[in-house]
Symmetry: C2
Subunit: 96 residues, 2 copies
Amino acid sequence: MKLGNRIKELRESQGLLQRQLSAQLEIDTPMFSKIERGERRAKREQVLKIAELLKVDTQELLTLWLTDQVLEVILNEKQALQALKMAEKDIKNKTK
Amino acid sequence: MKLGNRIKELRESQGLLQRQLSAQLEIDTPMFSKIERGERRAKREQVLKIAELLKVDTQELLTLWLTDQVLEVILNEKQALQALKMAEKDIKNKTK
DNA sequence: CTTATATTGGACAAAATTTGACAAGTCAAA
DNA sequence: TTTGACTTGTCAAATTTTGTCCAATATAAG
C-alpha cells in the first residue's frame, strides 16, 4: 500500500474533501491531489500533520512514507534486493 | 561496508592517488576525497566509472551505493526495519 | 627544519531538483 | 449548462546537491 492510496482511503472514509485537508496543510488542492496520487512526495512534516488530521497512527503513515522513499531509490535497480538485505543488516547492527 | 571505504581500499591496494582517479572522473580531489569519506554522495554514473577504473565488479559497487542511499532515507527512523520489510515485499511482488 | 606532495575542511557558486502556485482542464451530479 | 471536486501542465521560488577554490593539515623526503 502506497502512502497516497492510504491517505485517500482514510480521507474518503471520513467524508473529507481534498480542499479541507489541503487548507489545513497550507498547500493548494492540486498539490494535495498530487500527493494522494503519488505524483509528488509529501514532506515528513506533512505526513505527521495528515496523520493527525485523519486521526490515524502516525507510525503507520510514516512507515508507508519511508517505504515509498526506499522504493524510489532502489526501483529498477538489479541490486535492489541485495541492497535491502545489506541495509537491514546495518540497521540491526546499529545498536549492537 | 560503505561505498567510500571500499573505494579507498581498492584505490590504495592498487597504489593509485585520489588525484589520478578524480582526474578521470572530471572532478577535483577535494570532491573525490569527500566521496571516499562518505561526506558526499557519488552519482550513479560516477560509481560506474569508478568500478571501471578500479577494475572491480560494477554490481558490487552499485550495491554498496544503493545501500548507502537506502540507509540515508531510513536512518534514525523508528520504522526503519518495518519499511525495509515492506519494500522487500513490494520488490519481490513486482514481477508476479 | 624545510620542501614537496597528498589529503582534508570549509566557504561559496553553479546546477539540478523539489516544492508549490496558478490557470485551465475533465468529470459527475444536479 | 452550472457547480463543485478533482486533475493536469507549466512556471517560478525555494531548497538541495554538486562542484570549485583556497587554505589547512598531514605525511614523507631531503
